[in-house]
Amino acid sequence: MTIELAYILISIFLFLSGLFGVIIRKNLITLLVSTELMLNGVNLSFVSMDRIVGGVEGQIFALFVLTVAAAEVAVGLGLVVAIFRLRGYEGSSEITQLRD
């Protein structure tokens, strides 16, 4: 087993554990953290794929993903804070409707 395959397996594990977190957890902040986990798993796979193929595009893409993820976290947290202020809770099971 080469080191690259190990990285790929780790990235799959990271992605799936993030997905598992998104599916089963109710707290919105936990959901955001889990999404980050998925993103990082994807980043890891990009970089390790680069290593296999010997290119640089995956690394550049990973950098972009990091940037976008930072922005997304800022927006997501803002939304969570707004929902909390408005409704007084932050569990996703309570927010089942888009309207009031």
Partner: protein, 637 residues
């Protein structure tokens, strides 16, 4: 070219008043109407002088080009047409002015319509008089029919007026129908409708067909001039306002029939057998109408019957070949008949349009001296007393009647005796004797306003002096007639006898009119009912037609046609209901409803997925993604 304006000015005033009458008001409409006729009259004078020296025609418009012949509209001015046009315009102008006073109490109630109709009436009559072909004449012919219908039925809230208008229209329609067929025959014979073309070829065509054409054309004149047997509309036309009656009876409408025969006289002359029919019908009507006039008591109907009788005399004169005296009598008659009607209208106006029977009024001489004078001038002219205009014209007719045969002359003398009697009976009853109106009306009658009196006075002067133009008129129409002294004296004596009898009976009461009425009741009723012709037409012809229609309606329409339709309806309904149940309810509805039910059930199940939980959605998203990727990978290999 200004001659065209004679016809166009009344048309123009009709259009202005008809279209804008509501905006400009009734008085302005009346003034425009009067102006239209005044200018038409003023223009007709130079046209007449020109036409007297040399006849001329004015082409107007190419109506229908037909292969080798084109139907044209145009005007033809010769002595006959231009003088008649002037007469028509003159009398119409006076009557229009009079009508301003007569209709004043109706101003503000859409009276502009009345003036629009009057202008149209004048325009149509001028079309008849001046047209240079039979088609244009027919156009005017129909126009006066329409205008008279509108004007007789002007008081359209009254059932009687609308019925009378309807009767006038139907009777005229019969005449128009004959006239139209006459035109067809003329066109078949001559290949042209132009009067001058026709006159030039009169002797070259088949005489028997020409006789037929003449009879058909005369049928039109019978309808329009209210001659027997199409006469019943004329007395009933008195339902219209009095200026209308005056216009109808003096210069337009009824004069159209006589004028048409005089206009087409070259054709009539070449069919002597048919001309005899003209004479017989004219004579019959003259006697018949004057007998009816002796027994009626309606103020206007007596004068209406008198018109019928005078027109009959004109037709008689035409029938025995004396066209110019007929036309001269038409001219003088227009003056004194308009005068008599206007005087009658003045009396009716004095009683606020409520008095209609001569026995409702009496002793009016004191209250309405000018109306009294006008009426008696008209009556003297009608009776034919020297030197009033009626004397000159009637004398010509009586003279030619005696020339034709002695018995005919006696007949005409008898008619003029009756004429003198009935018109003075009316005059004496209305203006002398006890003041019967005090019983019927509270207010005292007053003399009419001067706007009504002035036209009457002008007409009175006209009735007095027109007779003196006899020699000139005759020479203009190319006919020379001498006054027969014996005929003149005898006819004046006869007329005086008629007046004398009326005076003795109705003023001096030598014989009590009431007793006389009782003893002669059957005769009186016969005369009054016009020998039951009106009853015959109304009850038997019209009523029978109505009954037959009703019977046919019940038998044919209600039973056969409606039965068939209802049966079809019933069968169709049954079939449709059967098909509906079998096809629609059991097949189509089942299918449609089934589909709907299925969709409902499926939708309910499917909607369970929509929980709203974010986690579920993400799980579904992932599942879907996995499936998609699996498919893509599967197909990539």
């Amino acid at each position: 070219m200004e001659a065209v304006l004679i016809v166009l000015l009344p048309l123009l005033s009709f259009l202005i008043v008809g279209l804008f009458g509501r905006r400009i008001g009734d008085l302005a409409s009346a003034i425009i109407t009067v102006l239209g006729s005044i200018f038409a009259f003023l223009l007709s004078i130079p046209a007449s002088t020109k036409a007297l020296s040399s006849p001329f025609s004015v082409p107007l418009y190419e109506f229908i080009p037909l292969g080798n012949y084109t139907l044209r509209l145009g005007l033809y001015f010769d002595a006959l047409s231009s003088l008649t046009a002037s007469l028509v315009c003159f009398i119409a102008t006076l009557i229009f002015i009079y009508s301003i006073g007569y209709m004043q109490n109706l101003f503000g109630l859409w009276t502009y319509k009345f003036y629009a109709y009057l202008s149209f009436f004048l325009f149509s009559m001028l079309m008849i008089v001046l047209s240079d072909n039979l088609l244009g004449m027919f156009f005017g012919w129909e126009g006066v029919g329409l205008a008279s219908y509108l004007l007789i039925g002007y008081f359209h809230q009254q059932k009687y007026a609308t019925n009378s208008a309807f009767e006038a229209f139907v009777m005229n329609r019969i005449g128009d129908w004959l006239y139209l067929f006459g035109i067809f025959v003329v066109f078949y014979l001559f290949g042209s409708l132009n009067l001058l073309d026709i006159f030039g070829k009169v002797n070259t065509v088949d005489a028997s067909l020409l006789g037929l054409a003449v009879l058909l054309l005369f049928g039109g004149a019978v309808g329009k001039s209210g001659q027997f047997p199409l006469h019943t509309w004329l007395p009933n036309a008195m339902a219209g306002p009095t200026p209308v009656s005056a216009l109808l009876h003096s210069s337009t409408m009824v004069a159209a029939g006589v004028y048409m025969v005089a206009r087409l006289y070259p054709i009539f002359e070449s069919a002597p057998q048919s001309l005899k029919v003209v004479a017989v019908i004219g004579g019959l009507t003259a006697l018949f109408a004057s007998l009816a006039a002796t027994s009626h008591t309606d103020i206007k109907k007596i004068i209406a019957f008198s018109t019928m009788s005078q027109l009959g005399l004109m037709f008689l004169a035409l029938g025995i070949g004396d066209k110019s005296s007929a036309m001269f009598h038409l001219t003088t008659h227009a003056f004194f008949k308009a005068l008599l009607f206007l005087a009658a209208g003045s009396i009716i106006h004095a009683f606020h349009h409520h008095a209609h029977d001569i026995y409702e009024v009496g002793g009016l001489k004191k209250y309405m001296p000018l109306t009294y004078a006008s009426f008696f001038v008209g009556a003297l002219a009608l009776a034919g007393i020297f030197p009033f205009s009626g004397f000159w014209s009637k004398d010509l007719i009586i003279g030619s009647a005696y020339e034709a045969s002695f018995s005919l002359g006696l007949f005409v003398s008898f008619v003029s005796f009756l004429t003198a009697y009935y018109i003075f009976r009316e005059g004496f009853v209305m203006f002398y004797g006890e003041e019967r109106h005090k019983k019927h009306f509270e207010e005292e009658p007053q003399e009419s306003p001067s706007i009504m009196l002035i036209p009457m006075l002008i007409l009175a002067v006209g009735s007095l002096v027109v007779g003196f133009f006899e020699g000139w008129y005759m020479s203009v129409l190319g006919d020379k007639k001498e006054i027969h002294l014996d005929v003149a004296i005898s006819s004046v004596v006869i007329a005086l006898a008629g007046i004398g009898i009326a005076y003795l009976v109705f003023v001096k009461k030598v014989l009590d009119p009431e007793k006389l009425y009782q003893s002669l009741k059957p005769m009186h009723t016969t005369f009054k009912e016009q020998f039951f012709t009106e009853k015959l037409y109304h009850k038997i012809l019209a009523g029978g037609y109505m009954k037959t229609s009703k019977a046919l309606f019940t038998a044919g329409d209600r039973f056969i046609i409606d039965g068939f339709i209802n049966l079809t309806n019933f069968i169709y309904f049954r079939v449709v209901k059967f098909l509906w149940i079998k096809l629609d309810v059991f097949t189509v509805d089942l299918f449609v409803n089934g589909v709907a039910k299925l969709s409902f059930r499926f939708g309910k199940r499917a909607s369970l997925i929509q929980t709203g939980f974010l986690n579920n959605y993400v799980a579904f998203l992932f599942l879907g993604l996995v499936v998609l990727i699996a498919i893509i990978i599967y197909f990539m290999e």
